[in-house]
């Protein structure tokens, strides 16, 4: 009997799996339509835009100072960095020189928020690989950082911190105490977190070679930030185009080699240590500065006057109203300013026609650009690895969807 007649010729059947849309509190609202062969992913098709809020259109109708709250809602894990990035863009356009002390204060805020961002991302990698413990430990430090933000600006998540021209107020004594306490406590907590995961056999087996990307592909896909550095490219905006006096600081840009989940985790882990060192350096530098009080540049046309001046002087009252109503003149021009956000190069491309609002404002949102590599990164991987890959990429839905 001919053997071929017995063979059942069956076309391979694939399953289509809708991964998401997930609840916003998990990783944000994501949906992936996956073509599965058993547990292997053949194709993934991300759907994005569930929380699109038309930020670029909104920005065309808002005075410059009112755009800061929009930037809060992009990468909401590190909103202070977005706020500062926007202030610096507007300051670049207006040619405002910021005092050294304010620049260092801003560095402290930005590095604190980088730590908060990386704490969330790294501990969630732990959760997605089955280790809830670390997540519960380190959230204490994130809470401490949010308390510092609360002390500085009154808000925790959507901070709206700082103003064009400086900060809205000086750091209080309580804020300095909280920062000092964090710097004392965090190293121990972080060490404990690292002891749980870094050399943990299970964690390593789960994350090494999970969702890798080569340096070439990462660059082609427009990766920036820790994801690009994990692939071995030492590109960091803080070093390449220093802003807010980052050139005064001595820090290492950690890089990985394989661009996989473990490397991304390790790069973020090392960045947190570097951020702590930057904060310490900034505090030392502040101690050495003669200037102990300034918290904004002397630009009455952009920076809101003190309430005392508003009530008691004519000029104060005029500036107050002009700024609040968005009637201050911004020069005509076109600027691009970028900062190293929690997950990559966050850029602001601003066209001003001299009016009260930007003529056009485009946000270069890092995760919108690199998330498109996701289907390529999870092709042929297990479903569980796909989840892990996504959490290790630090994709923030608010930023993705603008």
């Amino acid at each position: 009997m001919n053997s071929t007649t017995n063979e059942i010729i069956k076309e391979k059947e694939y399953t289509t799996l809708n991964l998401g849309p997930t609840h916003p509190a998990t990783h944000g609202i994501f949906q992936n339509v996956m073509k599965m062969d058993g547990e292997l992913i053949v194709e993934a098709e991300p759907t994005i835009g569930y929380i699109h809020r038309a930020f670029e259109k909104l920005a065309e109708r808002r005075p410059y100072g009112q755009i800061t709250p929009i930037t809060d809602r992009m990468n909401y894990c590190s909103s202070p960095i977005n706020n500062m990035g926007w202030h610096m863009t507007a300051e670049k356009l207006a040619g405002i020189e910021i005092p050294k002390r304010v620049q260092y204060l801003r560095v402290i805020i930005m590095e604190l928020s980088r730590i908060a961002d990386h704490i969330i991302c790294n501990s969630v990698i732990g959760v997605d690989s089955g280790a809830m413990t670390g997540f519960l430990y380190v959230f204490q430090w994130r809470e401490d950082i949010y308390e510092i933000f609360e002390e500085l600006c009154g808000a925790r998540l959507t901070t709206n911190i700082g103003r064009i021209g400086g900060l809205e107020r000086d750091f209080s004594q309580k804020a300095w105490l909280k920062i000092e306490r964090l710097l004392k406590d965090l190293p121990g907590g972080l060490k404990e977190f690292e002891n749980l995961l870094v050399r943990n056999r299970i964690f390593m087996d789960r994350t090494i070679k999970c969702g890798p990307i080569s340096a070439d592909r990462a660059l082609a896909y427009g990766f920036t930030g820790p994801n690009l550095r994990a692939a071995g490219v030492d590109y960091d905006v803080r070093v390449m185009n220093p802003y807010s006096s980052y050139q005064d600081f001595d820090f290492i840009v950690p890089i990985g080699t394989n661009g996989d989940t473990y490397d991304r985790f390790m790069v973020r882990e090392n960045e947190m240590w570097q951020s702590m060192s930057i904060i310490k350096q900034a505090m030392e530098k502040l101690d050495r500065l003669d200037d102990k009080t300034s918290f904004h540049a002397d630009v009455p046309e952009y920076f809101l006057p003190e309430k005392d001046e508003v009530y008691n002087t004519m000029e104060g009252l005029i500036w107050h109203f002009k700024i609040i109503m968005g009637e201050t003149q911004m020069p005509k021009g076109e600027v691009y300013h970028s900062v190293e956000g929690g997950n990559g190069e966050l850029g602001f491309y601003l066209i001003s026609d001299g009016g009260r609002t930007p003529y056009r404002l485009h946000f270069r949102r890092p995760c919108f650009i690199y998330y498109q590599a996701y289907p390529e990164m999870v092709k042929g991987a297990f479903l569980s690895d796909a989840i892990l890959t996504m959490s290790s990429m630090n994709v923030i839905a608010g930023e993705l969807d603008a």
Binding site: I48, G49, H52, A54, E56, K57, L58, E60, R61, K92, L93, L219, A220, Y221, G222, V233, Y235, M240, N241, G333, E334, V335, Y336, S338, E345, G347, Y349, I351, R360, H362, R364, F368, I369, Y370, Y371, Q372, A373, D401, A402
Partner: protein, 167 residues
């Protein structure tokens, strides 16, 4: 680390493309070159392939709309040479009512979603794009939201009318 000056880049582009380079200027710290629409892809490809300029990274791109200009629609690309830290912005404008640009997804896969975004918000088509459809807005949306004539809010809403300051 080699040093690329704006003059060198402009000279190279002028030698290669001549009258296709419409203007070039420094806008703050950023070299901005305006290019005729039909050769914008060649210019980008040249910047990408040239061994010295080596603009290997696409930082961002976005659509532009100036309703008062004759050439009202435009696209802006920002390229980056990370080794020399050289950045350049390429702009191109067109008077077409329904502009079609060449895709650059074959140079950078990163351009895929950026071009979809430009399509989604401005209605620009990109010739050769693998899957040009809306990305952030819903598929059934009518109109192109970031064009200047598109209203920010529903004009028929009466509940938020403010006589003093408008809407």
């Amino acid at each position: 680390m080699s040093n690329i000056t704006a003059e060198l880049a402009i000279e190279k582009l002028n030698n290669q493309f001549g009258d296709q380079i419409i203007s070039s200027e420094m806008l703050y710290d950023f070299l901005t070159v305006t290019v005729a629409k039909k050769s914008v892809k060649d210019v980008i490809k040249f910047l990408h392939d040239d061994a010295e300029l080596n603009c290997h990274f696409l930082t961002t791109m976005c659509g532009l709309h100036y309703p008062d200009q004759a050439e009202q629609f435009g696209v802006m690309y920002q390229l980056h040479n990370m080794v020399a830290n050289f950045r350049i912005r390429i702009k191109t404008f067109t008077a077409d009512a329904e502009p079609v640009f060449e895709t650059i997804t074959d140079i950078w896969p990163a351009a895929n979603w950026m071009e979809r975004e430009a399509y989604d918000f401005f209605g620009f088509r990109f010739h050769g794009h693998p899957k040009l459809k809306r990305i952030l807005n819903m598929d059934s949306l009518e109109g192109w939201p970031l064009r200047k004539e598109f209203p920010l809010e529903d004009p028929f809403r009466a509940d938020k009318d403010d006589k003093m300051f408008g809407r």
